[in-house]
Amino acid sequence: MEKMHVKMTVNGKNVDLLTEPRTLLIHALREELGITGPHVGCSSSHCGACTVDMNGMSVKSCTVFAAQAEGADITTIEGLGTPDALHVLQEMFKEHHGLQCGYCTPGMITRAYRLLQENPAPTEEQVRFGIAGNLCRCTGYQNIVKAILEAAAKMNDMKESA
């Protein structure tokens, strides 16, 4: 199959991919760019393990062609924090035991990141609804919800003191 060029920004870096038109974004990220934080859990838009941030929206990258991301600004879990300066959400997931096997975690945190941009002070119900597109088989969500609410509070504190 003939390949095509796709240009996008991934975690702040400009990339130019040469890939088949049918390549899914998740595979472009994982296999061509070596960004293996987002995972595949279903390939059918149900589990959210593949969630990345695209142009300020959460998308399930198993249901987006790489070609559709032409010119897009993409953030994955790898772009949210650095080992020395973790994102508050990453800290809170650790602190509140919001993960077990870790397979859903990158998608879950990336989704939570966008959720808190959209709604910086969500209620528990809003958090639960806001992450309903991301499945976790291990935690029962209780600690994930706690971690996100706690992160929201911390981020708001930081904003106020800034």
């Binding site: 994982r30 859990g41 149900h46 997931f93 870790g102 397979y103 975690t105 291990c138 029962g140």
Partner: protein
């Protein structure tokens, strides 16, 4: 005390040892997207393999034409049974003493069965290749109902063993019959039932479901032809057993095989078995000379690998008029699918189903299980369960409710009346187990109190009245469950898988500066072993947990062990860890005594050091001892500080718990709302309360899914009707409630640190709690039994059949 020595409590706290809610060391990499799961592995020149799968549940394979597929750009090879036959790899042994086709050999026996393996440049080219393989089938009659499988005119499914009258577990009475397994005293049980005041009888069905971890199964095989070494990365819950099995069936010497389980994205039993994909990736790597990856997709996973449950349990339970249980009879029809690939210890073809007397002192009991072949996927794995304990617990907890209805008694009171009493432990059950320890009454009373049981019953009675008056369309259900698990398989004398004793192991190496590395025969799939096993060790050897690295999953470096499933890691490998730690301490004592110039017996252990008895200012810390072990010539003591322990547990452990669910049910829509879930667990000594709580939340959510909607269903033709996440229910954060947890501590008397294991308890106890809540809501209207999963449609139908919509 020496002024420079901090107080005991302070030093103890600095270890983050046993009993602390230590934060997980695994989380740093997982939260940053730096986990290393099998699909993250990318090797130079690596190809990708994918299966052609059968669209039919039962058909003869007339021909397979691979010509067009071979012409597809990027396709390198297409393997069929004919290619594997010369290597004798077209069939493989199962964990249950049966054999299974790796690739269809003349016929297919379930939908989505593996027919051919296409190896291509990447997963896209492989999919193109799969689509181009031409297979001609001739459809055969299908059996999906195990009760029809033994009819005289039933089609013979397994033609390969049609004439074998003797199977791996005794006589077979029909070509579609696998085994009959019995436990207990049939005659005595029949006699008790015949004379009883009251006998309740019911068919309890625990439907077929699937562990469905978020990561599917996969492997990367790399055959290095230069040095003759095969390396396989894969989603293996038991890497050492995989190596041995791989060696036995491939003929490659065991030392030339290296099995690595990288990070695993959840297992729940799905990753215990050996699957055709693993074998095909290995063969394909041998054939092509380059690494080959296989990763199943979600539908492959749900349809072909590792179903769970599917037990039809016919029960009879007898009691005196005032509710003292006298006997229990259970006959189970077990639908095993097309191949008997259950993951059970060899001598237990129905797992530990004979724990079905549960938490109750039932003097006489009998159990028989018949394994049956049908045109469904093989598996029968322990989905967050210790070998059919979930089935057993569901059975007895339903039968108790059924008996309570028959007796007109409160189901909580009936339980209290029949619980095994604290002073009866160790308790010999009628079906042959020795329960190690328990205190059921204490936890049960605590749980009833926590939910306000009496008030709930009053509210429920008022609700029934209001419903009858037409003031409400909602009913209230109170789901009770008291489970006893049997975990930690197991004693080598009666537990093995394919002849491999079910011990486990730990090897510890203390470095000169006092930090350490420990390696185990198990493998974490999210349980946080690297965190908790370091805690056990920290307490045993007095080194901070953060100074202890923990490694598992690489057969070249880890000691042999049987892996992680059946809640066996803590009871078995946890014990091995403690014992290895004690060996380290014993040697450290000799070194410390030498350094302090006293006799071995004149010093004693004090948190992180040995002190001279009566002279606490004279001591040697573990750190000092470690250094000395590497730089001093101590007479009669070898240099270094290392230990290995292989632990063969003397008995199983028996965790237990009291779970209660309060549920609102809308009679008109069949929808449910969970108002409260209270879970009190007793898993003996608690290693890390934070992780225990997390395990309970997760297990309860899986139980909620199973009880309320999750199912692998087949139509009459053997088509899977729940093969995607669209149809296969996994609760989201919206359907999942908040849970209240509590605990009691009754240590296991035979485990070195008294721990029993907890990971599976919430699934075992949770399913009956949720299911009983549904049943309980309709008790006042005459419902005795309705089958799971209790999805909205089924609940609506129940209400309809009880005339509640009139």
């Amino acid at each position: 005390m020496n002024e420079s020595t901090p107080p005991k409590e302070e030093r103890s706290a600095a270890l983050s040892g046993l009993g602390t809610s230590r934060k997980r060391v695994e989380d740093a990499r997982f939260t940053q997207g730096k986990g290393n799961y099998v699909d993250d592995i990318k090797l130079p020149g690596m190809l990708f393999g994918d299966f052609v799968r059968s669209p039919y549940a039962h058909a003869r394979v007339k021909s397979i034409n691979t010509e067009k597929a071979m012409a597809v750009p990027g396709v390198h090879a297409v393997l069929t049974a004919a290619d594997l036959a010369p290597l004798s790899l077209h069939w493989m042994p199962t964990l249950a003493g049966d054999k299974q086709m790796v690739l269809a050999d003349g016929k297919v026996l379930f939908q989505a069965q593996e027919v051919a393996f296409v190896v291509a440049d990447d997963r896209y080219a492989a999919a193109d290749g799969v689509a181009a393989v031409e297979v001609e089938y001739e459809e055969l009659p299908v059996i999906v109902d195990p009760f029809k499988a033994e009819a005289d005119d039933a089609p013979v499914l397994r033609e390969d063993i049609a004439d074998q009258k003797e199977g791996a577990h005794g006589p077979r009475r029909h070509p579609n019959h696998i085994f009959t397994w019995e436990s207990g005293d049939l005659e005595a049980t029949e006699a008790v039932l015949a004379e009883a005041d009251v006998v309740a009888e019911e068919m309890i069905y625990y439907h077929r479901t699937h562990p469905c971890p978020l990561e599917t199964c996969g492997s990367v095989a790399s055959m290095d032809k230069v040095n003759g070494k095969l390396t396989v990365w894969g989603t293996f819950q038991a890497p050492h057993a995989v190596r041995t099995v791989a060696s036995l069936i491939s003929g490659i010497a065991e030392h030339n095989i290296r099995i690595i389980s990288p990070d695993i994205g959840g297992g729940f039993g799905n990753k215990v078995g050996v699957y055709p994909g693993y074998i095909c990736s290995i063969v394909a790597s041998i054939v092509t000379g380059v690494p080959v990856k296989w990763v199943e997709d979600r539908s492959d996973n749900l349809m072909a690998t590792a179903f769970a449950r599917d037990y039809w349990m016919k029960g009879r339970i007898s009691a005196t008029k005032d509710g003292k249980i006298t006997g229990l009879h259970c006959h189970t029809t077990a639908d095993h699918g097309a191949f008997d690939a259950c993951a059970d210890p060899t001598k237990f073809p129905a797992g530990f189903m004979n724990i079905c007397t549960g938490s109750y002192d039932i003097p006489t009991a009998y159990l028989a299980v018949d394994g049956i072949y049908t045109n469904k996927a093989p598996g029968g794995v322990a989905y967050r369960c210790s070998f059919r304990v979930t089935e057993a617990a569901y059975f007895i907890e339903r039968m108790i409710e059924v008996l309570a209805i028959k007796l007109g008694m409160d189901a909580a009171e009936l339980r209290v009346k029949n619980f095994i009493k604290k002073e009866q432990f160790p308790y010999q059950s009628a079906l042959g187990w020795e329960y190690d320890s328990g205190d059921y009454h204490t936890g049960w009373e605590k749980a009833l109190k926590a939910v306000g049981y009496e008030d709930l019953r009053t509210e429920q009675a008022e609700r029934v009245e209001a419903f009858k008056r037409g003031d409400t369309r909602k009913l209230l259900g109170i789901g009770l469950s008291h489970f006893t698990e049997i975990v930690g398989a197991g004693p080598v004398k009666n537990c093995d898988i394919l002849g491999l004793g079910m011990f486990d192991s730990c090897e510890i190496r203390i470095h000169p500066t006092g930090s350490a590395i420990a390696r185990l025969g198990t493998i974490s799939q999210g349980q946080g072993h690297a965190t908790t096993f370091a805690q056990i060790l920290a307490t045993e050897i007095g080194s901070p947990a953060e100074d202890i690295t923990l490694e598992e999953g690489d057969t070249d470096t880890a000691p042999y062990g049987l892996g992680t499933y059946g809640s066996r890691s803590t009871p078995v490998a946890g014990a091995a860890t403690a014992m290895a730690g004690r060996k380290i301490r014993a040697k450290a004592q000799m070194i410390a005594a030498y350094l302090l110039e006293v006799h071995d017996n004149d010093i004693e252990w004090d948190v992180d050091r040995f002190v001279v008895k009566g002279a606490p200012e004279r001591f040697k810390t573990m750190k000092e001892i470690a250094f000395a072990s590497y730089n001093q010539a101590i007479p009669g003591v070898e240099p270094g500080l290392e230990a290995v322990s292989y632990y063969d547990p003397p008995n199983m452990t028996y965790p237990f718990g009291s779970y209660i669910c309060v549920m609102e049910i809308d009679v008109d829509t069949g929808t449910t709302e969970i108002r409260q879930v209270f879970a009190l667990d007793d898993c003996g000594t608690r290693i890390n309360p934070m992780i225990i709580e997390g395990q309970v939340h997760g297990g309860l959510t899986e139980a909620l899914a199973i009880a309320m909607g999750q199912e692998i269903a087949y139509d009459e033709q053997g088509n899977v009707t729940t093969g995607t996440l669209m149809d296969f229910f996994i609760p989201t954060a919206v359907e999942t409630p908040n849970y209240q947890t509590d605990y009691t501590v009754t240590p296991s008397p035979h485990h070195p640190i008294g721990a029993k294991g907890v990971g599976e308890s919430p699934n075992v106890g949770g399913v009956p709690a949720f299911s009983n809540a549904v049943h309980d809501a309709f008790r006042a209207f005459g419902l005795t039994q309705s089958h799971m999963p209790h999805d909205h449609w089924r609940i609506w139908k129940t209400a309809e059949s009880l005339g509640l919509h009139d």
